[in-house]
Amino acid sequence: MQHTLEPAAQPGNNLAGNILEMRGITKTFPGVNALSNVNLAVRAGEIHAVVGENGAGKSTLMKVLSGVYPHGDYSGEIYYQGQECKFRDIADSEKVGIIIIHQELALVPLLSIAENIFLGNEPAKNGIIDWHATFSRTRDLLKKVGLKESPNTLITDIGVGKQQLVEIAKALSKEVKLLILDEPTASLNESDSDALLALLREFRAHGISSILISHKLNEILKVADTVTVLRDGATVDRLDCHAERIDEGRIIKSMVGRELADRYPKRTPRIGEPIFEVKNWVVYHKEHADRQMIKGIDLNVRKGEVVGIAGLMGSGRTELAMSIFGRSYGQRISGQVKLHGKEVDVGTIQKAMDAGIAYVTEDRKNFGLVLIDDIKRNITLANLAGVSRNAIIDDGKELTVANKYRRDLNIRCSSVFQQAVNLSGGNQQKVVLSKWLFSGPEILILDEPTRGIDVGAKYEIYTIINKLAEEGKGIVVISSEMPELLGISDRIYVMNEGRMVGEMPTREASQEKIMHAIMKSWEN
């Protein structure tokens, strides 16, 4: 990556009214400079967005701020409400009202909302919990965040969006003054995201400052007062959204150090005959045998075509893909799958793979990678036969294969012996993609292929998708980001509540049309 942009003027020079100033923060890990001389100044009562590509150092910076890395582990100073702070742990930072909500929510699924909110902070006398106080205070907090659930509801029974709100209620219970949200909307649908952002605005009105870390630049533009941009562990820009007009292009330019003229690489589609067809596909819920999840879906993909599937969370897109991929989801599955006009058996994952189908999961950490294994082993896992003879693995061949994909897909790592767990999201995704490419598929189903990865890596993933399409493979992309679908696919299906409710060539499609198709399906 080229760095053409010079670091902007150092921000945070004693601006009056700052609730937080982090000055010259430097944090090193063995062999890596994670943060070098980073400055961050947050005004009291503002929403301050921190953006940067994955690996830019956002999370590390927040860990420094919240005391996960205690004072002494880093160099630099933290001033909070005018006083220098030397946090030893999270409890220290929470005491003064700095609360961080991580991307992976820290809730106990089988405890109730009330129990979770006051976990570790129970209203109690002599160790005996005052349940009346717990419940009534929970009710108040839930009202503030706009949740209508009973305090008794178990966390496992509410959706991710609501869980996020419970986390925020928990933060409120601790008298939060500076709320840090790490990718809060990553797994939320649009309406839940909007509700969350509205809540942040309301907090701002009440004088609570927030630091918002997000990849979703459109959301940042909706709410942020100030944007700090990190790149490669350094502060490169600080943008005041009120002083100047900021758009996504401006932020991206700072993030990647170059302008992404087009966020989606161009491709001239050369589309052939249909190679993949699904007919009248019906799937029932994996636990509730009487609940139909996929209600008779038809779908086809042509050679060299990128087909997008749009839809809201819970519309059944992942369930559709996984049920086709060797029945890895659901039960009582019926319908036909045809490849090149011939019906194929996709009854097990092995059979689906043999037929030439690959499914790249939306959840790469839990379903895609063996995190404790190295890159090489992950890449060959789905096609060990390809690197072995008589079931004995040829180490040299395996290495050659892994290095080939490392080059082809530009996986950034110290070597293919590096553990997958140490890679950034974008590079992890490239490893998962490599694994499936090595299995030699004709049809690739990519489920949220760019979720949680940064702009630069997204572009690379799109380029890979284009290349595969040019090679004549059929590609299905499931995505919740409509601009992405509009940017890379040739044709878009719209799915809602287990049905295809729309199909359109991309040149005729728009976000409005897609939403309209979804809305109309609800009316019927």
């Binding site: 990556m1 991929f325 060797g326 890895s328 097990t348 994952i349 092995q350 793979m353 499914y359 999961t361 839990n366 379903f367 895609g368 990678l369 063996v370 995190l371 404790i372 294994d373 082993r377 896992l381 789905a382 060990l384 036969a385 072995s388 079931a391 004995i392 693995i393 180490d395 040299g396 290495l399 050659t400 290095n403 490392r406 080059r407 950034r412 790592c413 110290s414 070597s415 293919v416 012996f417 590096q418 694994k435 299995s439």
Partner: protein, 401 residues
Amino acid sequence: MTQQTAAADELGHHRSLAGFIKNNIREYGMLLSLIAIMAFFQYMTNGTLLKPLNLTNLILQNSYIVIMALGMMLIIVAGHIDLSVGSVCGFVGAVAAVLIVQFHIHYIPVTIFCLALGAAIGAVQGYFVAFWKIPAFIVTLAGMLVFKGLALYILKGQSVGPFPVPFQRLSSGFLPDALAGAVEAFNSTSFVIGLAVTALVIYFNVKERRGQQEHGLAEEPFVFFLGRNILVAAGFILFSYLMASYKGLPNVLIVMFALIVLYAFVTSSTTIGRRIYALGGNEKAARLSGIKTHRLTFYTFMNMGLLAGLAGLIFAARLNTATPKAGLGFELDVIAACFIGGASASGGVGKVVGAVIGAFVMGVMNNGMSILGVGIDLQQVIKGLVLLAAVFLDVYYKNKA
């Protein structure tokens, strides 16, 4: 990422000596601690530990633990545990005794039947773990009770023996000396075999290093490679010399050695081995990569049962009776051997050689402390602390890395 040249990059690993030691501290550390423990007891027992007679005993005493540790390593790597191996071991030995001694059935069909029985027991337990998702801890805890009880039942609470002499040889027999008398009071055949094995091991090590170099992978500094091979060769030659100057190589050692080689190969170089590691590392990802995870789990347990059955036969042959107490507490030694040998309780990590070294760490301590006359009470305390210390060091170095 800064510009790193691709060539140097593809090797990736630290080339420096210090870096290499740091990366491989646990592999060498384990072997070195075994050597240290042996040296300690050799000194404390005034040389009794490595006397040919005692060394032979050490092998005989630990063979069944080592054999079961091979299977247990696979189970633990796959992310499970098997608490029933001690009971299964005792039960299979009891069945063998009843069939051979009381029913006068020939020992060969009985041996085959007993191995199949062990595999079947493992298969039943594996069935519940793999296909019904019942935690292995519970299934094998049940198995532990069931087979301990069944052993008592079929033995009617009494010891059954003795076995016919050919059957005893499984455990107490020695490789006959084809070159008998070539050297006075020396089993030349055993020594020659020892030399041959040493040569083979060195040959394979050199061949592997050649292969690594071809792919630019030889990360181990040559000094280390040389030192390791000299150490291994010296160990093997010394060992076969000592054995040869007593009665030669015990049959059970040959069985055990063959199994160690087989399992080390399967885990490190075959697709099935790789799949077991992936299964333990992330079952969902493994399944979505087309690996039949249920079936693989099932086979891992079946394999464990088979090895427990074999261990049961060896143990019964060694005592020359089947007793209701046979196998009592073996599961603890076996599991401890795996964890001392570097297995991770959360699955996906562990090496066969580690389990073998772990088993011998326990074995040498048992043997050495017994010679020194340390009471059984203190022995347990010390063994427990060693287990904790080994795992603690493991975690400590992992966190530091």
